[in-house]
Amino acid sequence: MKIIPIFAPYLYAIAYPREFKIVWNEEMYNYFEEDEIGKIDEFQRLFTLWSNPRYLYDFFKDNAHYLNAEYWLHNKNQFTNLPKSTKNKARKFEETIVTQIRNLDKLFQPLDDNITVPPNVSNTKSKYGWLRVYAINIDENKYLVTGGAIKLTKEMKDHPMTKTELKKMEIVRNFLIERCIIDSDSYEDYLYELTI
């Protein structure tokens, strides 16, 4: 597992090794070259997928049954072409992150929507429409991206993809705790997030 600088000293992303099958599963071999597997970081992987028509088409086709959820039905008019609107949102999201790189503390918020003031909360998300980038807060305006997802359900635990993102965060958290980069004080908050 490597920590890759995206915009040092503000934004970093994890590059998971090839053996890390919850990221580099068989499906990913459809969208990435052999020499990219296990090398590229999560930030690059996400925005590559979110600009790939085949990935987005397949994703929304495979997850069509989730689109009956209340959130999607209420916003139906926006979603006449989900792959295309997702690609456009991703471009705006990418641009927002870049232009707000010195204000990341305002862009990332606690993972749990119920927490408004984040004391000792290091698991965070940045959201743009239905797109999410998940990150661990290392210090003031310093974030480590652990992954991201197209969020289809209200709760992360209700979809395999967002559930996997929680797992990835747990692995990275442990990696950082072992190296005394973050402490385990906020671990209870994290465990709480897993149960909601």
Binding site: I3, I6, T96, T99, G129, I182
Partner: protein
Amino acid sequence: MKPNVEKFEAIVSTQESGWHKDVEERLRNKLWQDKAFDIALTLLKYKDAYKLNQAELARKIGVSKQYINRILQGKENLTLETIGKIEDALQIKLIETKVYPEETEKPSPSPYHQPTIYNKSRLNFNTLESPHEDYSEK
């Protein structure tokens, strides 16, 4: 520097993220990539509507499996010749062009055309200056 930040910095890789190269390419190639994206979606819908797999679609058009894979991922800057070949093979329209009648003085801008706003000048990588946009959830 706080001790934990120091420890963090110490394990940051020297490897550069390929994202920078990707985003530069997305900016540079936006105009054709947007069209390639739409063409890919049309072909993906065609493939499903006619219950074809990727190899069958490639055969029907007369291109290799590798090439159709690149087209479906929006990675090919297709020539007019290739677009014509696909349209002819599948009997569908991928792009439309308007022929203006002779009496028209000049082609007028389409009311639907949105000029590109995702340009390099907005993303200033050197200074990272903020255009002071609203970064709250859209």
